[in-house]
Subunit: 231 residues, 6 copies
C-alpha cells in the first residue's frame, strides 16, 4: 500500500454564496485533481448564507440551540454534497454524519467531503477533528479574508494580517469575538483550537479566492495567507 | 390501537422562499397540531429556490441529470428537517431517504416529514408514493397557485381555475408542459399521476397561502382549491 | 486511477425461472469475468415468477399496490443476491436498496448487483436510473425475447423484430401495452424511458439465452438483438 | 406501561408453498389480531421451497456453505416480509437481520416478523434466540407434521406422535437425523436446543394446518400438538 | 400526547468500577422506575477505569488522540449497554452513537442511555448536548465526590463544598485543572460549559453513592450536592 | 485483481488482560504487517476478563442469558476496536456486528477485526463462521494454553498436549467440559465445530504468547501448537 500524506481543506460556507461559486468549485476540483495522486484529502464545507437563513427561520419558530445548529449542519451537508458530486470518481459519493462515519468512509482511499457533525461546534471544529483522526500534516482554512488579522477585519479597517503566529496568539485575538449561539462561531471556535493544540496540527488560513494557489501551497510550501504554529 | 385515517400534505418548496416563511410554517404547525389527534399525517416538502440554485451550480459544473436531481433532493431534505424540527414532539425527528425508510419511520405513530427520495421523479411523486403506501384518504398539494387551471397560469392571463376535474382531464392539461430535466417537474409528474390513478387517491390542489384553511378542508370537507377525482 | 467505461446489464427475472438457471448464471459469470478488467459493470435483476407469486399472494390478502410492489422488489433482491454471491470477489457482496445506496456501493470499484428500488417503477427503471447515475455508455436489457418487436410477440405471431429503432418508435410500440398495476410493467416502463431519453442512454434489447454473446457485443460491438437509439 | 407476556411463533417455510398459502396467512392474521391485545408476539418464518431452490442453484454454482445459508436466509426474509405486510399496522413494517436488530425493532411495541439471522443455524434457532431475548413464555413451532414423533414421520409409517416429552428425549430422537449442510436443518437444530435448554423455554410443536387453533392454545392452554418440557 | 418534563442523568464511569456496582445500578433502576411515569429520562454514562485502561494501552501503541478518545467512547458504550439492558422495557435497547442518533431513539418515548459521541469532548459534554436537545429542565451529574468544591478535592484536603454556585464561578474553579488529553477531562469540560451556558441548563452535581436520593431531588426539589446556576 | 489466500486469527480475550497486553498487540501488528501483502486476514477477538466482569454484573441484576451474552459481545467489540485502531491503515476502521456486516467490510480488501456477533455462540463460533464465509485456508486459535490437550489442562496437571488430532477426537475431548451459560464457552463450542466440520476448515490452536511465531506458521508451515484435521 503506497503512502500518501493527508491534508484537510476547510471551505467556508461563504464560498457557495459567491456569484462565481461554480467557477470557484471548478478551481477546487482542479486543485484536488492535481493533488490526489500524492496526497489523501479531506474536505470540510461550511454552511454559509443558507445555514444562516435556516437558523434565522428556526429562531423565529423558537427552536432550541441544538436544533438550530442541526439546521446549520444540514445546510453544510448540502454544500458538501455539491463538492463531492463535482469531484466525481475522486470522491466518496456520500457525506458522513459523524467523525466515526468519516473515518469509515475515509478508509475507501477516496477524497471524503463532509459538512457539520454535531451541535455545539463549528465546521472548523469538524475540520480539526478530521485532521486529528487522519493525522493530517496540514489543515488549510479557506475563508473570505486573506488570513488571520490582529483584530476582526470586518469591524476594524486598521487590522493587520499576520503571516505567521502562534496558536496562543490566535487564541488571544479571537477570544474577544467568540459567541456561543448557533451559527455564529468565528473562524476557529474553542473546540477546534483545543484539538489543534493537543495534536499540534499546522493550520494555514487563506482566502478562498486564491483557491488555485493551494496546489503550490501544498506541493511547494508556497507562503499564502497566515500560518498558525502549534506550540 | 385506535384508528386515525391518514392524509398527506405536499408543501411546495417555494413555501420556504417566501418572506414570511416562518409565519407560514407556524400556521402549518397549528394545522398539524389541531389535526394530529384525529389524523395520521405525512408531509412532503419540495426543494424550492434552493434546489434550483444548487441544480444550476451543478449544471455549470457539468454533473449528470442523476446528480442534479440528488442535489434537488438534498435541498428538499433541508426544508423537511426544518418542518420536522418545528413540529417538535409531534414529528419523527429525522427525514427518511426512501419509501421503505418512510414506512419504517411512519410506524412510530408520529407525523413523518420527508423530502425527495430518488432521481427521476418530483417530490409530488414522493407524495403520491407515500399516500399510496399509507392508504391515505387525501393528498393535499399546497403550492403557489390557487388550484389547477386549464392552462399554466404563469404564462396565460386568461387561465381559469377548475374547482373540480378528473385525473384524465388533469393529464391532458399538464401533458403539454412536462419536461424531463432535473428540477423542472410540473405540479404533478407522470410518476405521481400513475400512482394516483392506480390507487385512486383523491388529490386537492390549493394555495399554501391558505394553509390555515387546511383544518376545515380536512375536518369539514370545506371546498378549497381544486379537487381532482380519480376514475 | 485507471478509467473503465461503465455498462449496465438488466437481467430479466425470468432468467431465474428457467430449468437451466444455474448454467445461465454461470455464463453470465464468465461474461462479467472477461469484461471486468476493461469495464465497470452494474447488474440489475428482475423478480420473475417469484415476484409474481408473492404479488399474487399479497393481492389475495388485499395489500395495497405499494406493498405489492415491495414484495416484487424483495423477490428481485433474492435474485440479485444470488448473482452477487455467484460473482464472488468481483462483486460487492450486498445488494443496495436505493439509488443513493447503489452509488455508494459503486464507489467500491466492484460490480454492483441490485434488484428493485421503489414501488411504482419496474426494475427496468432501476436499470435506467443506475445507467444514468454512473454515466454508462450502454444499457443491455437481457430478456426472454430476441429483441424489440413491432408488436408484443407474446400475443402476435406475426410480430417482426427490429434491429434498430429510435426511442420514440419504441414508445409508440409499447404505449398500448402498458399497465400500472404492481408486477405488470412491460419491457420498459415510462420512468425508464424518461431517464433513457433525458440522458441519451444507448439501449440494447437481447435474449438472455445469448448471454454469452454479451462479451463480443460489448467488446466488438457485435450486433445482437435490437438497438434503441435515443434522439 | 401495561405488561403483556411475550410469545414466539415459528412458521415453517413450507407454509408459503401450500396451494392455500394466502388462506393460511389470513388465518394467522386473525390469530395475531385476537392475541395482540394481551400478548406481545414475535414471528419467525422459515424459507421453504424457495430457500431450497436458491440453495440448489447456489450449490450448482459451487458457492460455499456460508453463502448457501445466506440464500436460504434471504428466501426466509421474503416470507417474513409477506407476513409483516399482511399484518398491516399490527406489525413493524421491516424485517430485522440480526438478534440485536430484532431487539431494537421489538421495542416499538409491535409484532416483529423475522426470517433468518446468520449462516450455520436454522430459523428454529432464530426462534429460540428471539424467545430467549424477549423472555417469552412459549415458543410455538408450527410445521407440516402434527407434533414430535418418536421417529421421523416422513420415513417411518409407524412413528408415534408424543403429546408430551422432555427436551432430552427430543434431543435423543432428533440426534440421528441431524445434518450440518445449509438448508437441511431438521425441526430443531442443536443451537435451538441449547438455547431452549439454558433458558428453559416451553416449546409446542403443532401443525400449521391448525393455525387457527393457536388462539385457544395460547389463551386457554388448549392441548394441541406436542409440548416439550425443558428440565 | 401527555407531557412529561425531561431530565438528564450523567453517571460517572467510576460508578461501574465500584465493588458494589450492581447494587448501585439496582438503585438507579429503582429511581428510574419511580420517575419514568412523570419524567422523560436521558442517561449518559462515563467510561471509568475501563476507558482509562484502553486509552493507556492505545497510548503505549502510539495511537493518536482521536483514536484514544474513541477507545474511551467504546468503553463508555459498554457501561451504557449495561444500564440500558438493566432497565429492560423502560429503556431503548440500543445505545446511540451521535446526538442525531440520540434524538431519533429519544422519539420512541423510552429512557435512552448513551455513552460518548465524539472525540474531543467528555461524556459530560454529551450530557449537556443531550440536555439541550431535549430541553431538559435539569442535568444531574452523579460522580465520586459530593458536589463542586472550591478546589479539586482530590488534591486539596481543605477544599470546601459549595451548595450553590454560578456557572461563571464554576468556570473559574475548573479552569486551572483542565487538560486536553484524551481521557483526562475533569468534571465538566469547556464544551459542556458552553452548552450549559447558552441554553441555561440547571446543573446539579452529586455523589453517585446517594443515587437513591435522586427521586426526592427531582420530585421534591430536595437539596443534594451542589446546584450550579446559569446566568 | 491479485489473489491472496485468506486466514482467520482468533485472539483470546485473555490476551487483553495480560500485563504486557500492549506489547502483545504490538507483536500481532508486526505479524499482520508482514503477512498482509500475501494474505487476506480476518481477526476475531474474545471478550476476556471484561466480558466476565460485565456478565457477572448482569447476572447479579438478573438479566436473561441473551442480554448477558450481548454484554460479552460488547466487551469483545471493545477489544476488537483496539486491534483495529492499532493496525491503522491496514485494517477496516470499524467493527462489524454480524456475519453479513463482516462480509461487506471484508470486500474493502482490508484486514477486518471483529468481536462477537450473536448470543448463544462464542467468539470461536464467530471465527469459524468468518473462516467459512471467506473460504479461509486456515483458522488459527491463539489462546492461553499451548494447544489442545487430552484433558482440560486447567484442571488436570497430567494433561498431554496433542500436536495433531482429528476434529472428532477434539469433539470427544471437549464434550465433557461444555457449558451453555453465557460467557462460559470453552475453546471451541458446538457451533464452531459444526462449521469447521461442514466446511473442512483447518484449525491450529496455539499460545498467544508465541504470537510472533505466526508469520512462520503461516508462511513456512512451521509446526506450532496443535493442528486439528477435519475429516
Ligand atoms: N482576527 C481575525 N482574523 C481573520 N478573520 C477574523 C478575525 N476575527 C474574526 N474574523 C472573522 O472570521 C470570519 C471567517 O469566519 P466565519 O466563521 O465567518 O466564516 P467561515 O467559517 O469561513 O464560513 P462559514 O462559517 O459560513 O462556513 C471572517 O470573515 C472575519 O470577519
Ligand atoms: N414490442 C415488444 N417487443 C418485445 N417484447 C415485448 C414487446 N411488447 C411487449 N413485450 C413483452 O415484454 C416482455 C419482456 O418484459 P417483461 O417485463 O415481461 O420481462 P422482464 O422485465 O425481462 O422480466 P421481469 O419483469 O420478470 O424481470 C416479453 O416477454 C414480451 O412479451
Ligand atoms: N421426530 C420427529 N418428529 C416430527 N418431525 C420430524 C421428526 N424427525 C424429523 N422430522 C421432520 O421435521 C420436519 C419439519 O422440519 P423442517 O425443518 O423440514 O421444516 P420446517 O423447519 O418447519 O420448515 P422450513 O425449514 O422450511 O422453515 C417434518 O416434516 C419431519 O419430517
Ligand atoms: N472543584 C471541584 N469540585 C469537585 N470535583 C472536582 C473539582 N475539581 C476537580 N474535580 C474532580 O472531578 C472528578 C470527577 O470528574 P471525573 O471526570 O474524574 O469523573 P467522572 O466524569 O464522573 O467520571 P468518568 O470520566 O470516568 O465518567 C472528581 O473526582 C474530582 O477529583
Ligand atoms: N482439552 C483442552 N485443551 C486445551 N484447552 C482446554 C481443553 N479443555 C478446556 N480447555 C480450556 O480452554 C481454555 C481456552 O478457552 P477459553 O474460552 O477459556 O479462552 P478463549 O476463548 O481463548 O478466551 P475468551 O473466551 O476470553 O475469548 C483454556 O484456558 C483451557 O483451560
Ligand atoms: Co464559520
Ligand atoms: Co415541483
Ligand atoms: Co419486467
Ligand atoms: Co427447517
Ligand atoms: Co469525566
Ligand atoms: Co472463549
Ligand atoms: Mg425448518
Ligand atoms: Mg471522566
Amino acid at each position: 500500500m503506497e503512502f500518501r500524506p493527508s491534508i484537510v481543506i476547510k471551505i467556508s460556507g461563504k464560498f457557495f454564496d459567491e456569484n462565481d461559486a461554480s467557477a470557484n468549485i471548478s478551481f477546487l476540483r482542479q486543485v484536488v485533481s492535481s493533488l490526489a495522486g500524492s496526497y489523501r484529502i479531506g474536505i470540510v464545507s461550511g454552511g454559509g448564507g443558507n445555514a444562516r437563513k435556516y437558523i434565522k427561520l428556526g429562531r423565529e419558530l423558537k427552536l432550541n440551540e441544538s436544533y438550530l445548529d442541526l439546521l446549520g449542519i444540514w445546510a453544510s451537508r448540502l454544500n458538501a454534497n455539491l463538492i463531492a458530486f463535482a469531484l466525481g470518481d475522486l470522491a466518496y459519493p456520500a457525506v458522513p454524519d459523524s467523525l466515526e462515519d468519516f473515518v469509515e468512509k475515509w478508509s475507501s482511499g477516496k477524497v471524503v467531503v463532509t459538512g457539520g457533525f454535531q451541535p455545539g461546534q463549528s465546521t472548523a471544529a469538524v475540520a480539526a477533528l478530521v485532521a486529528e483522526a487522519i493525522s493530517a500534516s496540514k489543515l488549510v482554512v479557506a475563508t473570505n479574508v486573506d488570513g488571520v488579522y490582529d483584530k476582526d477585519p470586518r469591524d476594524h479597517a486598521d487590522a493587520v494580517m499576520l503571516k505567521e503566529l502562534t496558536l496562543s496568539r490566535l487564541r488571544e485575538i479571537l477570544e474577544s469575538s467568540q459567541s456561543v449561539k448557533a451559527g455564529t462561531y468565528e473562524l476557529l471556535d474553542p473546540m477546534s483550537m483545543k484539538i489543534i493544540q493537543r495534536s499540534k496540527i499546522q493550520v494555514i488560513v487563506m482566502n478562498y479566492k486564491n483557491i488555485s494557489a493551494l496546489t503550490s501551497l501544498i506541493k511547494e510550501n508556497k507562503a499564502i495567507g497566515s500560518i498558525v504554529i502549534p506550540e
